[in-house]
């Protein structure tokens, strides 16, 4: 499952990334394989979304979230 498909409130665990460039940026921000993520907010227009990861809130676009594969 991709992060973009995760339902708000459900907990996912990052498994891998489909995009190297994006993965470098995400990992620096603490979103690494093994990290627990939940969807915490969705922008009023449906995109971007905010996720809870590594103890803080990170916003990213749906398209970016679709490069994160969950376990």
């Amino acid at each position: 499952m991709r992060l973009s498909e995760l339902l708000p409130g459900a907990i996912g665990i990052v498994k891998e990334f489909t995009d190297l460039e994006m993965s470098v940026k995400l990992m620096e921000m603490g979103c690494l394989p093994g990290a627990e993520v939940t969807i915490s907010n969705i922008a009023p227009l449906g995109d971007p979304i905010a996720i809870n990861v590594a103890g803080y809130q990170l916003s990213l676009r749906k398209q970016e979230a679709s490069t994160i594969i969950l376990q």
Binding site: Q57, S59, L60
Partner: protein, 704 residues
């Protein structure tokens, strides 16, 4: 000032770095630029308990040494370039204790550069509250560096930091974090041999960043590139494995030193606030309500200090007229320079209030929510959620906002933001709009609370935003993207604004405005005064002779005579001639030669308009406050029609011109600096002038 030790502050964004900087240096700071790049350099001085002093440099917030924006690239350049005058003797890494894991990544990178380093562990009051137990002694021992718990907001632990700076080691004693050699052993070895480096991480950083750093030569850079090819170095893969290795190290470290309570936490307060502030409907309603409140306050709160400053200038001018002997020099000083200056000074309250609002919005974390809410909308027109910050900042001044667009990583998004930001109604347009609206819009209330003049002004603000969005969309279709854009951004938790920082920002911005605009306005008013006081040939002499004749003094009252004589002189002065030259071009817009003079001078800076109008209409050299200028403009009559010169059509046509025209030398300069080419400011100037002319033309003919 010469300092004994140079200290750099490094940390993630939103960790309280600026608060610590302000606490350490107080008002003893200045903002400059790093040589060659336009990144704000904040340097301050801090007295140490042993009598020495430390120079503190506040480096831009970053999540890692690998830069994602221009701002962030300066961090590595300052830390790694030994020849840089700001290369620090000591680095203080500020760590947000509530988010240790992510913050420690940057620490391990800085530590591996082998510069003396220590940790300021901020927000320890919050971790205590949350029940997070950090064994600071063990933490410090494992890393081999001093770790000082502080609470920058509450001003706790600042003395301990000062003390630690004065006891700081001259050599790096920190424990190494990871063995970076595993990432690219041959390449690191080859670069180290080639440049005689003894630090493998430094060599690895050069491999990643050699193309963008200035302190290595082109030959060196080319050689590094060759070595990379030779050893098949892949920058992104190397970064990925480095980051994973660092997080493994951090996980081990935190496993031993930090105990987090296992009690599941309920929904945080920040999330609850977000439910309302980023709500589908309320989110936008609140956002626009905040903007409306902001503009209404700028108007109503500034009235009193505005009048006070204006009265003060009138008083000084009147007294100087009494004390100083009458003559051209007194005229230049009192009417030219002081008159022009008062035109700027009266806007200090407006600017201070505007910057207070903007810094409160940023400080509380609300601005990130606006970015979050608007991203999808902004993307449709070729912008980025992050463009909202420069655009809103553009209400204050385009210059810092255009510099602020550096946080936008994507080239195309950033260029479009830079191109449209000057369209947003900036504070320099305020005096122009205020004056013209007061002239033609009645000061009446509609629906009890909304003032008609305030409404007209709000209308100009909304109009500017709409036009910025339309122009952005056009640019989106024209410009080609260089790389993909992304929107990976931290959303900080809501916090109360730090009033001290708000105060600093108000003071700093107002000062910059007065100094920069002041310089332009003084020189423009001097030049204008000369141009308006002298004329070509012997026209002036002839006018003097004409009015000296007896029949003239019989026909007119002395005051009246003086007035007609002076306005005839103005028409024949250099400024008048210049105005007449461009009159045919601006006639279709409803402007005469007098407005033409103001248009010319306004290309230096928009706010010059009021001063120019004052100089042109104050033919008797009277007090130069807005009210008298306003009255004079109201009384002005178009000789050919007998109608008031400033009709609704002319006033709105003028406002349209000021809304679109690129009348700001500082903006042109900053766009040049930011884009490093004259092409962009030239395109911007051209498109804005065309729009200005067209909009004025339409407005004039619609309302005529």
């Amino acid at each position: 000032m010469k300092a004994d030790i140079s200290v750099a502050l490094v940390g993630n964004p939103n960790t309280g770095k600026s608060t610590l900087f302000n606490a350490l240096t107080g008002l003893n700071q200045k903002i400059g630029n790093f040589p060659g790049v336009t990144v704000d350099k904040r340097v301050g001085y801090c007295p140490l308990p042993d009598g020495r002093s430390a120079e503190i440099i506040d480096l831009p917030g970053t999540y890692s040494l690998y830069p994602k924006s221009q701002d962030e690239s300066i961090v590595f350049s300052v830390l790694a370039d030994k020849a840089n005058p700001h290369c620090p003797d000591l680095v203080i890494v500020i760590i947000d204790a509530t988010n240790l894991k992510r913050n420690m990544l940057l620490y391990t990178q800085v530590a591996d550069l082998r510069i003396p380093v220590m940790i300021a562990l901020n927000m320890t009051d919050l971790t205590e509250k949350a029940g997070i137990d950090i064994n600071i002694n063990l933490f410090s021992k494992k890393l081999g560096v001093p770790v000082i718990p502080i609470s920058a907001r509450k001003n706790e632990g600042i003395d301990k930091i000062r003390e630690a700076i004065s006891f700081a080691n001259k050599v790096a004693l920190q424990q190494p974090s990871i063995d970076v050699n595993f990432i690219a052993p041959e390449l690191i070895g080859a670069i180290s041999d080639y440049l005689h480096l003894d630090n493998p991480y430094y060599a690895l950083q050069l491999a990643h960043q050699h193309e963008n750093i200035k302190f290595i030569s082109e030959t060196e850079s080319n050689r590094i590139e060759e070595l990379e090819q030779l050893y098949a170095f892949h920058s992104q893969k190397a970064q990925a494995s480095e980051t994973i290795a660092r997080y493994n190290f951090i996980n081990d470290l935190l496993f031993d030193t930090v105990k987090t309570p296992l009690i599941p936490q309920g929904e945080s307060i920040s999330n609850k606030i977000d439910k309302v502030l980023t709500h589908k409907v309320f989110g936008f309603v609140i956002f626009f309500a905040i903007l409306l409140f902001m503009f209404q306050s700028i108007f109503s709160w500034s009235t009193y200090p505005h009048d006070l400053i204006a009265d003060l200038f009138v008083w000084v001018q009147n007294n100087l007229h009494k004390i100083l002997p009458a003559g051209p020099l007194t005229g230049l000083l009192v009417d030219g320079v002081l008159g022009g200056l008062s035109g700027v000074m009266v806007f200090i309250p407006q600017i201070a209030i505007l910057f207070a609002f903007i810094s409160v919005l940023e400080d509380t974390g609300y601005m990130s929510r606006v970015t979050f809410m608007m991203d999808k909308l902004m993307r449709k027109v070729g912008l980025n959620g992050k463009s909202v910050v420069p655009l809103i900042g553009g209400f204050a001044c385009a210059v810092p906002s255009i510099m602020g667009a550096r946080t936008i990583e994507n080239w195309k998004d950033r260029m479009i933001t830079i191109m449209v930001t000057p369209l947003v109604t900036c504070s320099a347009r305020l005096p122009v709009y205020t004056l013209l609206i007061a002239l033609v819009v009645p000061n009446r209330n509609v629906w009890w609370i909304l003032n008609l003049q305030g409404l007209a002004l709000t209308g100009m603000y909304v109009f500017s935003l709409v036009s910025a969005i339309i122009v952005a969309f056009v640019f989106k279709l024209i410009l080609k993207a260089r790389e993909r854009g992304y929107f990976i951004m931290e959303i900080p938790i809501y916090r109360l604004p730090r009033w001290k920082n708000v105060g600093f920002s108000m003071y700093e911005r107002s000062k910059t405005f007065v100094v920069q605009a002041g310089k332009v306005i003084i020189s423009v008013s001097v030049i204008l005064w000369v141009l308006a006081s002298y004329g070509p040939g012997d026209h002036f002499k002839q006018i003097d002779l004409k009015y000296a004749k007896l029949q003239m003094s019989q026909q007119y009252q002395p005051d009246e005579l003086k007035r007609i004589k002076n306005s005839e002189k103005l028409e024949n002065s250099y400024a008048g001639v210049l105005g007449h030259v461009i009159e045919p071009v601006i006639k279709p817009l409803g402007f005469d030669w007098k407005i033409g003079i103001a248009l010319i001078t306004s290309f230096a800076a928009r706010e010059v308009f009021v001063g120019t109008m004052a100089t042109i209409y104050s033919v008797d050299g009277d007090a130069e406050r807005i009210e008298p200028v306003q009255q004079k403009m109201k009384a002005a009559v178009d000789p050919s029609t007998g109608q008031p010169e400033f009709s609704l059509a002319v006033a709105f046509s003028l406002m349209m011109f000021y809304a679109f025209a690129m009348q700001c030398a500082s903006t042109v300069a900053v766009v040049y600096r930011e884009t490093k080419s004259w092409r962009w400011p030239a395109i911007q100037f051209a498109y804005m002038t065309v729009l200005a002319y067209a909009a004025s033309f339409i407005a004039f003919h619609l309302l005529k």
